[in-house]
Amino acid sequence: MLVIKNLTKRFNGQPIVEGFDLTVPSNGFTVLIGPSGCGKSTFFDLLMGIVPMDQGDLSWRGQTVIALKALAAYMQQSDLLLPWLTLERNACLPADVAGVPPKQSAARVEALFVKLGLEGFAHYLPAMVSGGMRQRCALARTLMFARDLVLLDEPLSSLDAITRRQLQAYLLLLQTEFKKSILMVTHDVEEALLLADDLLVLTAAPMRICERFRLDMPKPRDIADRSFLEIKARVLARLEKEASW
């Protein structure tokens, strides 16, 4: 369980995150949705310790931690692939750094690439593949971290509807199968509703939780389901209300 208390961050006096409290259960799917520029990525950066917080307390599984640095796998919004490594070598990086033998990690990446539709592109350079493929490679790299907590910042934003749906299913599987805690940012309400156990609708900066939806419909969910459509309408209405500019 990840407990966040009173998280606060200002840039040049401008509060971006202020007095933010959140509890994320171990083994659950928490989705954040909110207007562009509200502070979601900053929030993740704060959790990871990439950006120093002004205030706030974190604890993971009961223990106070300064940041999640070594505890979580984090997929940032930009892909950050190293241009001089092939997709395969890029995805293997976390394993390489952890000292996993290259053969072993290559095999794992190969399996992942099949799942993510990157089969046959293992030896391409990042500059030689499409935006969506780069994003999938970055996702593969994130999944190569052997960590229980996964933060995903708009991981599927550049993918077409069909691929997206397949990867959503895969993420779901991952979370339930391997009992990971996933914290994910998305702009796609449907995606959020398909995956989330907990859906947080956020306000514009300074970011606050304006509404929290606990979704206990069984997964996989059906987007044509009535209760699904109903809650979707509610979430959209909430978002609309929040959008002020």
Binding site: S78, P94, D96, V97, A98, P126, F145
Partner: protein, 251 residues
């Protein structure tokens, strides 16, 4: 391919012709600036004498480059890893570039004697500097987001160096190395001030003292050829090591 060398060749010939004309018509005496034809004649005519000396200088240059790399890379790494180290060493490194040979030569003789070592050291002092500075600047230019990525992976400093900083700084390294190999020629020549009995630098000082200016310039010609050769070699290595740039840019 062929056409792309037309212009360089043309310019080369124009420059040489202008120089020749300048010497012959402009009344510049041979012992001040010999015309290129004469330099060429001496460079080729005395090749049998010059080449063994050139060989020795080349060995010094290569050893100097090797020494410079051995020093420059750890130095840049250390200075990047610890800003305090940078602040501490920078003044010494800069000072090392302000010391003229004649001040250093007796010391080198006392320490290293008259062998190859003193020449190589002298050349190394001149070559290592641009490499260190460029490499350090390259390390520093590494994008923060990537640095963070490696932190989050829990990469050790060594891992980050090998997998991130080094490839990132490679273009800088090559910029420094190109400067390095170009000044390596004069580095070795200066090294040969220090009690040499052979080498192109030795030939030059001696020829100069005897007013054989054409021989001086013939030696310079040979040195320049070495410099250009080394430069081209570095260019080839660069193209190989940075293959991913070409591959990424292709279309």
């Amino acid at each position: 391919m062929k056409r792309s060398f037309l212009f360089p060749l043309a310019l080369f010939l124009v420059v040489l012709t202008a120089w020749e004309a300048f010497c012959r018509l402009g009344g510049i005496p041979d012992f001040i600036l010999p015309p290129p034809t004469r330099i060429l004649r001496v460079a080729l005519g005395d090749a049998a004498i010059l080449l063994p000396h050139a060989g020795i200088t080349l060995v010094e240059i290569l050893a100097g480059i090797a020494l410079a790399l051995t020093v420059a890379i750890p130095l840049a790494v250390g200075m990047h890893a610890q800003p305090a180290v940078e602040r501490a060493l920078a003044p010494f490194l800069i000072a090392s570039q302000a010391v003229p040979v004649f001040a250093l030569a007796p010391l080198l003789v006392v320490w290293l004697g008259y062998g190859l070592a003193s020449k190589v050291l002298m050349a190394g002092v001149i070559i290592f500097f641009p490499i260190t500075v460029s490499l350090l600047e390259g390390f520093k230019s590494c994008d923060r987001n990537y640095r963070i990525l490696f932190q989050l992976m829990g990469a050790s400093k060594l891992q980050a160096l090998r997998k991130l900083y080094w490839p990132w700084a490679l273009p800088y390294f090559f910029a420094g190395l190109k400067v390095g190999v170009s000044v390596a020629t004069i580095g070795a020549v200066i090294g040969e001030w220090v009690g040499a009995q052979q080498g192109l630098g030795y030939v030059m000082i001696q020829a100069n003292a005897r007013l054989k200016v054409d021989l001086v310039f013939a030696a310079i010609l040979w040195l320049s050829l070495m410099g250009v050769g080394l430069w081209a070699l570095v260019g080839i290595i660069e193209k190989r090591w940075l293959w991913w740039k070409d591959a990424s840019d292709s279309e």
